[in-house]
Subunit: 315 residues, 2 copies
Amino acid sequence: MNIVTTLSVNEKKQNDLMSLFKNEAFHFFSNAVEPTGELKEADVVVTYGDDITPEMIKIAEKLKWIMVMSAGVDKLPFQEIKKRNILVTNVRGIHKIPMAEYTMGMMLQVSKHLQQVTEQEKSHEWKRLSMNELYQKNVCIIGVGAIGGQIAKLCKAFGMNTYGINTSGKEVEFVDEVGTMDRLEEFLAHADFVVSILPSTQDTKYLLTKRHFQLMQETSIFINIGRGDVIQESVLLEVLNEKLIGHAILDVFENEPLAKDHPFWGMDNVTVTPHISSITSRYLPRAFAIFEENLRTFKSGGKTLINQVNVDRGY
Amino acid sequence: MNIVTTLSVNEKKQNDLMSLFKNEAFHFFSNAVEPTGELKEADVVVTYGDDITPEMIKIAEKLKWIMVMSAGVDKLPFQEIKKRNILVTNVRGIHKIPMAEYTMGMMLQVSKHLQQVTEQEKSHEWKRLSMNELYQKNVCIIGVGAIGGQIAKLCKAFGMNTYGINTSGKEVEFVDEVGTMDRLEEFLAHADFVVSILPSTQDTKYLLTKRHFQLMQETSIFINIGRGDVIQESVLLEVLNEKLIGHAILDVFENEPLAKDHPFWGMDNVTVTPHISSITSRYLPRAFAIFEENLRTFKSGGKTLINQVNVDRGY
């Protein structure tokens, strides 16, 4: 079996994989452009999911399985994939710990004015500013699944009140109140923190509008760790220029990487991070653990791989 | 009854107090130097506890109760207080929420390289660095009481392993393993985070030595939110210059404010904060709630005030 990777895998891990799966031929690349010849023979492609074009699917005429080492699969050419009946799996589930830690880190950074504390430190200034607390604050989590549930768990430990939106409105552990989209406005109106973890789908694109931010408090903090297109960037810019809310922490954008001259970079009420909320030193080990288990199943002709993506639904 | 405050109380709160306790005479000052005349007549002094001198106790010949709006009472002139049998109460217990939040904020700031993320943001640099996780890391809490217990609670929610030192060795909720001082070295050897919350007493002064830091890992992070004199500052400086550990987060110092030319300010492996771990917008409201309840008891001749300090023990 020919396995092509389009993400960089360090030498140690390459050797691990080759010794774990002695009968398979691994072709390690660090991007999807180089391996044209190898793609033609590939049975499996391992990718972050943002580099696969419709043309590549055509070239990879033997391709049966795409292992996406990410949760977002919105960049995949689903039409071609569906036509060919190619299996798609992702690594959803491994994001919840790092992304929840990132979220709490950012909530605390803003609430505790830690950037200001750092500035004072740089000028050797001993000035006792007063911080805010997370305790008893309200958080509204839009898209409360595995990741949102982990955020809710941490928020509850901090004594926060948790509200969540999902498609079913069904109860979620650690979320005080769960509703479907029709309760979003109600939840937003009293939220101190609003966290969007929505993937990019037809239903979620531009789902948030200016009106939603008008409903929030002047001090509310918006955190986007889902996908950038949950709100039109020009609208979010308006919201922030008009200071409808207190602060936005943006890890995802409509166009990534964020252009060097984008106004978000320089705004006092915006924190920009380069789509890193899930990236920790433990990300790839966890992702490869899923890949390896799936590869064993796939080799033995097993039908149910971990985290199979519904190709019709797109997630 | 004459009540003298030596900390600034805003006008709204002054009016609240005067209307709550109509029969008492309040004398509001923002320091302990001004109210010489008033001190002579004072029955009660409300203070942060770091401004009361032996001379002031002598002047305040009617003084019966010192309400310390802080947890640390180590700066009080206990000899004079004991001689006169003056009651001392503090506000221990109200620190646990802000101090635990500060601690998690700092653990996340260092683990997630958030200062570096901010630097990149300033130069509009989209560079995806890899962060670390708190998940499954070990924390050793030296002095695990109310505050340490709250830190342990949060650490457990993050999936960390918690170890704690206290004087009894008795179990504490959310602490996986509790020991007395004789287990400190064992706990330190595998701790990723070491948090000292020790007060300053005869037993804790210079309790930590270079040897303790030699036992820690090169990557360990030391967080001091207790009192600065738990380690001699010159020794800590040596430890950090020799990079025996990864990072120190220092909120307390042997001499505060930290001198403008102190080397700690400029060190890459040190984060200095100006003794703010407990200061949030909710600090004074909580502290006054305790004072008000105690004042009611005190007025009615009640004997047991909240948080009475053992004058012999000094805490």
